[in-house]
Every structure is written in C-alpha cells, then in structure tokens.
C-alpha cells in the first residue's frame, strides 16, 4: 500500500458527511431503478416501491456494513458512542451532576493520596544515583541510629571498600556579627564531599575543596541562596567577603541554589543559612572518639555493590575499631539504611494505609454510581429492546453503555484532578512537619497517568454491571413491559453493591475512630510534666562570654535567669541545657554507687542528662516524689547533687532509698549525691517512650558544672519559663529584657511547650484528619447510596404499596417493611465490615496509642452510628411511601 493510500485511510474520515450522503444517494438510486424495473414488469407503483424495499433488505444494516468496509468503523462507532453518551448525560443533568460529583470526590481523593505516595515513596530522591545513597549512623545499644563520632567517621572513609564517597553533616547555630545587626544563623557543617554527592552545583563560586575540610584549614563558608539574597541582596560581590561567625572570620567561596533540599527528620537536619566544612571545625569533640556530637553521614555505594556487602564491610570496620579503641568503640556498631528509607521510612506504613483507605472511598463512589446507572438502566431497557429489535448487537449495546460510563468517569476524573491538586496542596500545607519530601509532592506525569488509568478502570468497573444488565437481549420482556422497566434482576446487584458500600464504610469509620481515639488519648496523656503556659527559647550569649572566667560565666547565667524571671507575667524561669523535653537530649553514661565502674564508657548504662537551673522542676511542673529539689545553694562551692527520675531509682536502687546514695557520671571525676527523686518525663515525644527504650533521667544543677566544662555553656543557653497566662504576651518583654542586659545577646526560637507537643503529634494528626475525611466521605456516599436504593424501590413499589394500603395495611406496616429492607442490608454490611476491620486495622497499629486495633468501643460505636445514619436514609423514602394515596397508586400504570 502506498503512502498516499495509507493517508487516504484517514482522509475519508474527514469527508465522512459527504460519503454518508453519497451512500444514501447511491442506495436511493438503486431503489428507484429497482422499482422502475418492477413497474416495467407490470407492478403497481406502490407494489413496486414495496418490492424494491424488500429486495434491498435492511438498509440500515447495509449502510453499517458499507461503513465497515470504509475501514475506520471503530473510530466512527466510538465517536458515535461518545456523541450518544454525551447526549444521554446532557439529557439527565441531575443524574450526571450527582454521578460526576461522586466520581470527582472518589477519584480526586485517590489521586491526591497517590500524588503524595508518588512524590514521597515512589519517586527517587532528587539526587544523582539516588538509589545508591545510604545513610550512616552508629549503633550504640539501646540506640539503633545514634549520632556518629567524628574520628570513627574519618576511619570509615579510609577503611571502607564499598563506597565511592562518604559525607558527614552536623547542624549547629552561630552568631553572625559585623554584617549589619547581630543575628543567629543556622550553620550546617558538612564534608567537602557533601554537595558533590548530592549533585548540588553552586549558583556562584565553588564547592569546598577537600583541603578546606581539614583541621587548621583556612575558614571558608558557602551561603544558601535564600540567605545570600535576604542578607546580601544577592550581590555577586559576596565571593571573597569575610563573615564573622561566633567571632571567627569565614571567607565566602560560593552560594548553593535554593532548589537544594535535604531532610532527615530523625537527624534534625534542617536547611542551613550557611555551610562550613565540618573537618575544619575547631572543637575537642571532633577529636574525641567517645563523643557523638550530632554528626550523621551518608555515602554512595560503588557501582554494583549491594547493601548487604556494604553492611558486611562496615561491620568488619566496626569490629576493627572496637578492638583498636575498646574504651570508646566496644559495642559500637555501624548502621546502614538506604537514604530514602531514612528520609521517608517512618511515613511509609501511614501512606500505604491512607492509600488503601482512599481506595475504599473510591470503591464506594463506584458502587454508588453503578447503583445510579442500574436504576437508570432499568428504565432504559425499553430503549435497548427496541435497538436490539432494530438489529443492534449486544456487544454494540454494551460498548455504548461502557462508552457512556467511561465518559462519565473521565469527566469525573478531570474534576477529581482539580480537586486533587487543590487537596494535595491543602493537605501538605496543613501539616508540613508531618511529611518529609513535602516539596516533592506534585502532579507529575505519573500522577496524571494514574488519574487517567483509574478513571477508565473505574468507568468500566461501575459501568459493566449495568451494561450487562440492560443489554440482556430478552426483547420480548423488554418490549412488553414498556417504559416501566423491570425490577427483578437488577435488584440483587443493587443490594450487593449497597452491602459492599456499608462494609467498606464500616472499615473506614473504624480506622478513623481508632486514630481519633488514639490522638485523644495522647492529648490527655500525662507527659510527666505540665505543658500549659510553658515557653521555651534559647539565648545566644555575647561572644565575649567565652573569654570570661568560670565564675563570671556562672554569675552571668544567674543574672540572666534573674532578668528573665523578673519579666512581668513570668512566674518562674530556669536554664536547661542539653535537653528540652520532647526534643531528645544529651545522653550520658553513668554508674550507681555500689556497682563496679564499667571498664569502658560504652559499657555504661545511659541516661538523659538535664543540666538545669534550680527552678526547672517548678517551671515544668515535674512532681517531686521523694527528697528535695535543687536550691540556690547548690552551686560550685557546695557538694555535687543530682535529682533522678523514678525509673532510675527503681532500677538501680531497688528496695532501698535512693536519696543519699551517689551516682557517677562518665567524664566527671566527682560523684553526685542523689538528693531527690522526681517523676519520669516522656523525653522523646508522647508516643515515642511507649515504644522505644525508656531512658532513665539524671538532673544536675547548671551551677555545679565544673570549670573545665562551663565554657561549653557560654555560647547558648536553653530556657524554660512558666507564664501566668497562655499565649505569647511575654515573648517581647523577655526579648527586651535579654537585650537590655547586653546588646550582643539574643533571645530566639520561642515555642510554647504545647506547640512542641502538637508538632510531635503532627504525623498522627495528618493520618487522623485524612482518615476522618475519608470516613466522612464514605459514610456520606454510603448513606446517599442506600437512600437511592430505597427511594428507587419505593418508587417501583408504589403500585404494590397502594394495593396493600387499599386492602387495609397501616402506614406503620408500610414504614416497617421498607425500613426493614434497608435495615437488613445495613446489618449484613456492618457485619461484613466488622469482620473486614478485624483483619485490616492491624495495619494501623503503628498509628495507635493506648487503643487496641480491635477496640470494642470503637467497633460498637461505629456500628451504631452507621446503622442509625443508614436507617435515617431509609426512613425518608419510607415515609414518602406511607403518604401514598391508594387511588393514585392504583392508577399508577
């Protein structure tokens, strides 16, 4: 076939109208000639015409066959079906609107969740060779992913055989001075390999050179684009300028683009204002193999190396280091996790649960639309009977009905896509803390393809049953019955669909109910302190403090605390160093009096170490159980004292009074006398402590920090204050009071304790809100569904009801009968739903707190609620049925 004739195949399509007219003309000519022939043979004109018609046969069929011969029949049929479908949809605006809204909600919600799953879980991280990036941490029992010691990291770089490159990073804050107003900036200390590994190219300037990532190297800094623009107006003159950070000069060598994104929730990685080479950080922690100063790392596997081989390699290195440095590295392991898993692993189960939940919503929506279509199809059987009588094949009828439903689904999908793009933004904006990689969530081609496929599938899914039903070729029945349609067969399908809807709604409601109950319990959970009216913030001390004598530093701290406590509205203020509740904290090795000193630090049990001001317990509302709290007199000149939590007392001083006993802390020569026992505080968030290892807690007074360590406190101090009233009225006053003491001193990072708790629950709230929305959708759709089915059956039974009432049935009997129908369906649905929920809710268990996945209360309440709503939905049409006037009903033929 030549190219021309190939093209020719398409051309006739455009001239279709002409060709159809041509064909008509050709056949008419043929008939005329035929009739003429008959007349010549002696027939009367009427007989002749009739004979000609008969000779020609079924003209429609011939035209159809000829069009088939034209060869683009499928396209034409499709267009025809689509045109016809559109006309049908336009003719029933009410039906179309309800179906469209239902589908748009179902497909929209599904697409929204899929776009989150796609962005967070499916898409690779936005780095080169992302699947080969692995996150490092140290295993320091009981911790699986602990911060890394820098000397260990350097050894890993040297000793490993499985990684192309490794990069370490650490977050800290520094005071920027000498560039306008003094300011606290976020500094991320990174290895020279950090940006190259993540494929980040500076917008201007360059990345760090390896030589700059070493002790004693000249100090250099890379700015983030945002900071560069806001602080320096995006001037290209910035390269070579010197920034003063914590009093030390850093030369600017580059600016990294604002598109750079990196998050590791657990490691508290935040995007920095500025980046400095970690290797040049001049701090004794960096040389101390036993210190784990908040450093984490990642690396890129060599091509072809499996995670397993890399783990074996690193395990070997860990063993070598343990035997070389038993004091710090005994029992220390190396944990390797794919970077993506580290970033999003904690949300994976949640997102999958949400995807399943939203899938249920979609199925319910489908069932509803299928029910609507079935009701309509019953009414349209007459139409299809006529079409079949006129020679339409069943396949053609099914195809046409499917075209209609797919059309509907595509339109619903289009609307749903709009809903999804809006809903995704809303969901992500609502709780950004809840979702890592939130900015990777968008409507990309995958999501569009997903929406398209789902729409088509959904269209076929809800269209198939009605199509099969109404195209059933029992012409006789269809024609005889006339426009009334039939009730019998489609009824069962409709009932099955309703039962399914109810069952799925039950599962969703139970899921939502369980998460809501968990969250309610968490809000009411006692964290071990009283979070109301507590503010937390940091104060960056003036750089000059570092040069003061230890006693001067202590005096400054005491003065600062006094100044803050004196602010009107502040009831009490206290320093807290190293540990804010709910935000992790310093871990210290210890041993109790009467026990042998462990040979190495890594063999000591661990405790959270709070270094606090004397009023800390008063501010936090932590109850004293035994002994006394700190006083003003517990300072460097008096005996060292400690307060411990009830867990430590119970575990390490069983059956005895811990007060008066001594406790040794790693790295400190003097033991501390235990003077009081307080309640345990949930250190790692309300829910965390219930699952992970519960750490014991040791408090020591900030003023007893020995001289050699106090200079660590001379940079920045955490504070907690208890205010008289909630809200943030005191913040400005505190800020001013801090500045009044010293102009170079900044209070920053104000957060209420309640906010911190809310943030720690963000991901649960995210799940709960979405599940609740889905459950609400499900119950609404299911109610509409059962309402539709009952209304329809009432309408169909008007005649029967009229007869019964004419024969003396009471309205109550009618009401009972009709509500009874709905009740039966609901009960079956609820029963199936409960069984389903028993099997499915365990996938939710990671999101539950103090509520069992089979919580009977939730199951009972949900069943009752759904049953009541369903009964109400049945009651409305049932009441209508009781108003049937027998006379009218009997005439209703």
């Amino acid at each position: 076939m030549s190219i021309w004739s190939r093209l020719n195949l398409c051309v006739p399509w455009f001239r279709r109208r002409v060709r159809v007219a041509d064909l008509d003309r050709e056949l008419r000519n043929h008939m005329d000639l035929e009739a003429e022939e008959q007349r010549e043979a002696g027939a009367s004109p009427e007989e002749a015409t009739y004979a000609a018609l008969r000779a020609l046969g079924n003209a429609t069929q011939i035209k159809e066959d000829v069009r088939m011969a034209w060869g683009f029949q499928w396209l034409e049929t499709l267009l025809q079906d689509i045109r016809y479908g559109l006309r049908q949809l336009r003719r029933n605006p009410g039906f179309t609107a309800i179906a469209l809204i239902t589908l748009a909600l179902g497909i929209g919600a599904t697409t929204a969740i899929f776009s989150i799953v796609n962005g967070v879980l499916l898409n690779p991280l936005p780095y080169p060779h992302a699947p080969r990036l692995m996150a490092f941490a140290e295993k320091l029992p009981p911790f699986q992913d602990f911060a890394i010691s820098y000397p260990d990291f350097l050894d890993w770089v040297k000793m490993n055989h499985t990684f192309e490159a490794l990069a370490a990073y650490r977050h800290t804050d520094m005071n920027l001075t000498g560039s306008g107003e003094a300011e606290r900036v976020k500094v991320i200390q990174v290895s020279a390999s950090f940006f190259p590994l993540l494929g980040v190219k500076p917008v201007i300037g360059r990345n760090f050179a390896p030589a700059e990532d070493r002790p004693g190297a000249a100090s250099v800094v890379i700015l983030s684009e945002g900071f560069w623009k806001s602080k320096f107006g995006g001037s290209s003159q910035i390269l070579g300028k010197v920034l003063k950070l914590d009093g030390k000069g850093y030369t600017v060598v580059g600016v990294i683009p604002k598109s750079f994104y990196f998050c590791c929730e657990k490691e508290n990685f935040v995007l920095g204002d500025v980046y400095t080479p970690i290797g040049s950080y001049d701090n004794q922690w960096m040389l101390d193999r036993g210190a784990h100063p908040g450093i984490f790392a990642f690396g890129r596997l060599r091509r072809g190396v499996t995670l397993q081989r890399a783990r074996a390699d690193m395990d070997g290195i860990a063993r070598d280091l343990a035997s070389a440095y038993p004091d710090s590295d005994k029992n220390v392991g190396i944990s390797l996790t794919p970077l993506k898993e580290r970033m999003v692993g904690n949300v994976e189960p949640v997102l999958l649960v949400l995807l399943a939940a939203v899938g249920f919503v979609l199925l319910i929506a489908c069932a509803n639309v299928a029910n609507l279509l079935l009701a309509r199809a019953a009414g349209r059987r007459h139409e299809f009977a006529i079409r079949a009588a006129l020679g339409a094949s069943r396949a053609r009828a099914i195809r046409q009905l499917l075209a209609e439903s797919v059309l509907l689904a595509l339109a619903g999908g289009g609307l749903g896509l709009l809903l999804a793009s809006w809903g995704t933004k809303a969901a992500v904006a609502m709780l950004p803390e809840a979702l890592p990689r939130a900015n990777d969530v968008r409507l990309d081609p995958h999501v569009l393809a997903f929406a398209l496929v789902v729409s088509v599938l959904v269209g076929v899914l809800f269209g198939l049953a009605p199509a099969l039903q109404s195209s059933r070729p029992d012409l006789h029945e269809g024609l005889k019955e006339g426009a009334r349609g039939s009730i019998g067969t489609s009824h069962r399908t409709r009932h099955v669909l309703i039962v399914m809807e109810m069952a799925m709604a039950v599962v969703l409601l139970i899921g939502a109910g369980l998460t809501i109950r968990s969250l309610a319990r968490l809000w009411r959970a006692n964290p071990g302190f009283n979070p109301h009216n507590v503010l937390t913030f940091n104060v960056a001390l003036p750089p000059s403090t570092g040069k003061e004598t230890p006693d001067q530093i202590r005096a400054s701290l005491r003065q600062l605390t006094g100044a803050i406590a004196a602010v009107p509205g502040v009831r009490a203020a206290a320093i807290t160093d190293g540990a804010f509740p709910m935000q992790g904290g310093n871990i210290v090795g210890f041993w109790a009096e009467g026990q042998p000193k462990p040979a190495t630090e890594s063999e000591m049990p661990n405790a959270v170490n709070y270094i606090v001001g004397e009023n800390y317990f008063k501010v936090m509302g932590i109850p004293i159980l035994h002994g006394r709290l700190f006083t003003r007199n517990d300072d460097i000149h008096s005996r060292f004292v400690a307060v411990i939590d009830e867990d430590l007392a119970r575990i390490y001083f069983p059956h005895q009074d811990a007060v008066g006993k001594y406790i040794h802390l790693a790295g400190l020569a003097e033991p501390f006398e235990i003077v009081g026992v307080v309640g345990h505080v949930d250190q790692n968030g309300l829910d965390e402590d219930k699952r992970s290892a519960r750490l014991v807690q040791i408090y020591i007074p900030v003023l007893q920090i020995p001289d050699q360590l106090i200079s660590f406190l001379a940079k920045t101090e955490g504070f907690v204050v208890r205010t008289q009233s909630p809200g943030f009225a005191s913040i400005e006053a505190i800020r001013r009071a801090v500045e009044r003491m010293n102009r170079a001193q900044v209070a920053y990072g104000f957060e209420s304790m309640e906010e911190i708790i809310a943030t720690s629950l963000a991901s649960r709230r995210f799940t709960m809100i979405l599940l609740a929305v889905f459950a609400a959708l499900a119950i609404t759709l299911a109610s509409i569904g059962i309402y539709g089915v009952i209304s329809y059956s009432v309408a169909r039974q008007t005649h029967e009801i009229g007869v019964r009432m004419a024969l003396g049935a009471q309205p109550l009997d009618v009401l009972k009968q009709i509500v009874g129908q709905g009740f039966k369906l609901t009960l079956i649905g609820v029963a199936i739903g409960i069984v389903g929920a028993l099997g499915l809710t365990r996938f939710l268990s990671s999101q539950l707190y103090a509520v069992k996945a089979t919580d009977p209360l939730t199951f009972i309440v949900v069943s009752l609620v759904l049953t009541s709503v369903a009964l109400l939905a049945c009651y409305i049409p049932a009441r209508r049925a009781t108003k049937v006037d027998p006379m009218v009903a009997l005439r209703h033929e």
Binding site: S5, D22, L23, R25, E26, L27, N29, H30, L33, E34, E37, A55, L56, G57, N58, Q61, I62, D65, V66, M68, A69, W70, G71, G391, S393
Partner: protein
C-alpha cells in the same frame, strides 16, 4: 427477514467470488451498482441473485482496495447522476489473479467430484 448472523455467514462464503464477479462485470465498462447486479443476474439466467446487502459493502471494499474507482456521472439514457464504478489497472491485475485461482479451484474440485472424466 434475514438475521444478521446468516448474512455474515454468507458474506464470508461469497465474498471472494462476488468480488471476482464484480471485477469481471466491470471489464465491460463503467457501471453503477444496480446495473452490476442486473448484469450478473441476467448473465447467469437468474441463477445468481446478487444480494444487495452484500453488493454495496463489496463495492466499497473494492474501492478502498483501489481495484475499482467510483465517480458520479450523468447517465446517458436519463437525466440523473449515478455512481459509476470502473476497473483500475490494479483491479485488472487482481481480476487476472482471481480468475486463474478460480479456474484452478474449479478444475481441482472437478477432478475430485468427477474422476471418471479424467481418463
């Protein structure tokens, strides 16, 4: 009235032969659909009744294959336009192929059905 199923069977059975007959008829010159049917009927003494339901689809199929071409022309004997089909060179070739195939078929069937005459 024929049901569509029967038509389909017959179409299948007839198609090749009908194509050949149409092409052979058009060898005489351009004709419209009715004339083609009439010619076949007359020539075979009414033995072969061309089913109109098959004729027009066949004509359009042949046209699509490029074996015949169609043109609306005024009839000589009356004041009316008819759609005249005429053989294209490709159609001529096709006719030759089909004719020889058909001859082979008839001869072969003949040899099976009437072996005595073979002698």
């Amino acid at each position: 009235m024929k049901t569509s199923k029967q038509t389909a069977d017959r179409l299948e059975l007839m198609q090749g032969t009908l194509n050949m007959l149409i092409l052979r008829t058009l060898l005489l010159g351009p004709l419209h659909g009715h004339a083609i049917a009439k010619h076949i009927r007359r020539t075979t003494d009414d033995v072969l009744q061309v089913d109109h339901g098959s004729l027009y689809p066949a004509l359009h199929r042949l046209e699509r294959k490029g074996w015949i071409s169609a043109k609306w022309e005024m009839a000589k004997d009356r004041n009316r336009e008819f759609k005249y089909y005429r053989l294209t060179p490709a159609g001529r070739k096709q006719l030759a192929t089909e004719h020889s195939k058909w001859k082979l078929l008839v001869a072969s069937i003949g040899r099976v059905m009437e072996p005595a005459e073979e002698g």
